[in-house]
């Protein structure tokens, strides 16, 4: 009667569901992936996440977990090998703090930059660049936020990849090697990682996505 196994409800272009793919792949967990159409949500999704009706949702042995950071912590606590969070409580607190910062500050600013123009957009770009400088302060000379290998905060920071694709699609200049050398270096390492690179949207399709959705709202330079 009880459902066995792991299911992930997500969408191909969502950084939030892609985070969960990274976590599951890192742990070598077999799962069934269900691509949702957010304009026509499945009864299963609505059943598993009645509160927010959002992806990602992880279902493990029939029990649903929602909210990407809650899911990532669940995965780390359930499959204990290849840990995502560091062992030390203070380092865990720092990873959680900056992950929260990314979702609460960086993500809204990144969305805003796509729908603003002129002076207002310039202000948002300044804000995002300052946020990324703050993140550089956390990364310092490490290979990844997690140290020698990527961890919770690197996965949370996947949104930066979305920003970089958007800037290419729409002809904006926000993150580049000159302005943000530390983050730029980190990004190259992340995108070259065998596990991580499988969990980003296919580049051409992603570029088109941004062009179609936001192309007309960006002022010409």
């Amino acid at each position: 009667m009880a459902e066995e196994g792991v299911k992930l409800f997500g969408t191909w272009a969502s950084p939030f569901s892609r985070r969960i793919e990274v976590a599951l792949k890192l742990k070598g967990v077999e799962y069934e992936y269900i691509e949702e159409n957010l304009t026509n949500k499945s009864p299963a999704l609505l059943n598993y996440n009645p509160v927010h009706k959002q992806i990602p949702v992880l279902v493990h042995n029939g029990k649903p977990v929602a909210e990407s950071f809650v899911i990532m912590e669940y995965i780390d606590e359930t499959w204990k090998h290849n840990p995502i969070l560091p062992a030390d409580p203070y380092e865990r607190a720092m990873a959680r703090f900056w992950a929260k910062y990314i979702d609460e500050k960086f993500w809204p600013a990144a969305k805003k930059v796509l729908v603003t123009k002129g002076e207002e957009q310039k202000g948002v770009i300044d804000e995002i660049q300052q946020q990324m400088k703050n993140l550089e302060g956390e990364l310092k000379e490490k290979k990844f936020f997690g140290g020698e290998s990527f961890g919770f905060l690197d996965i949370a920071a996947n949104i930066i990849i979305w920003l970089v694709v958007a800037q290419e699609a729409l002809g904006m200049e926000i993150l580049n090697e000159e302005k943000l050398p530390i983050l730029h270096g980190w990004l190259q390492r992340l995108l070259n990682d065998a596990v991580f690179k499988e969990c980003v949207p296919p580049k051409e399709r992603h570029l088109d996505f941004f062009k179609v959705k936001f192309g007309s709202s960006i002022a010409s330079k």
Partner: protein, 227 residues
């Protein structure tokens, strides 16, 4: 600086977020130094320890600062392993508790602030939003109490209890200040019985801000924004 095991909490007397940390420290029996901040004139320490947000609470342990109340609670749970656990051991139970704590954190603050600072239609609209979400919370957390009403032996408050208590525990003070019902036992019986049960506990009573001062504070927040 950096005395071994020294714990300092930077806070503000009326902050529900600071109150969460006080409750957690008390439950775990962790001695700490409390530093009251004047948020209109923040100390150098606060600005140094939380340069990103410049907010309270900040917990400093062994010279290391931690900000954001829910992150501080997780840190306390993971650092002081003796005594009562603030989070459940089972990963799925933990996930449920974190989900609903996040719901409380994300869904109410804007509407409660808006309700405090507005009148008539805007106020009505904000409170309607609060009540709607309280209903979602009620329905979603019913399963936490299979034996009926919440009750707490000793001081066994957990993560979600602490967050709910800090947000709605002193609802009567808010109700007096704003002359309206916030937690109505008819509309939200579970939340009402939940906060009422928690309000009996010494650890909750001891962390309550002084009532008259709190009423005046809420009224001044309202008064300042309606001129």
């Amino acid at each position: 600086m950096g005395e071994e095991n020294k714990v300092t909490l930077y806070g503000m007397w009326a902050s529900p977020f600071v109150r969460r940390v006080k409750i957690a420290l008390k439950i775990k029996g962790i001695p700490y130094e409390y530093v009251e901040e004047d948020l209109r004139n923040k100390s150098q320490f606060l600005l140094q320890y939380n340069p990103v947000h410049k907010k309270v609470p900040v917990l400093v342990h062994n010279g290391n600062p931690i900000a954001e109340s829910l992150i501080i609670l997780e840190y306390i749970n993971e650092t002081w392993k003796h005594g009562r656990k603030i989070l459940p051991e089972d990963p799925f139970e933990r996930a449920k508790v974190r989900f609903w704590a996040d719901f409380l954190q994300q869904q109410f603050l804007d509407s409660l602030c808006s309700a405090t600072k507005s009148r008539e239609e805007a106020h009505e609209k904000a409170m309607k939003d609060v009540f709607k979400k309280l209903t979602v919370f009620e329905e979603g957390t019913e399963g936490f109490f299979p034996n009926g009403s919440p009750h707490f032996e000793g001081e066994n408050l957990g993560f979600l209890d602490i967050v709910l208590c800090s947000l709605f525990g002193s609802h009567k003070v808010g109700e007096e200040a704003l002359t309206m019902k916030i937690i109505d036992p008819e509309r939200h019986p579970l939340v009402h019985s939940w906060v009422t049960a928690m309000n009996e506990l010494p650890v909750v009573k001891e962390t309550l801000p002084p009532r008259d001062k709190m009423v005046a504070f809420i009224q001044s927040l309202r008064g300042n924004s309606l001129d």
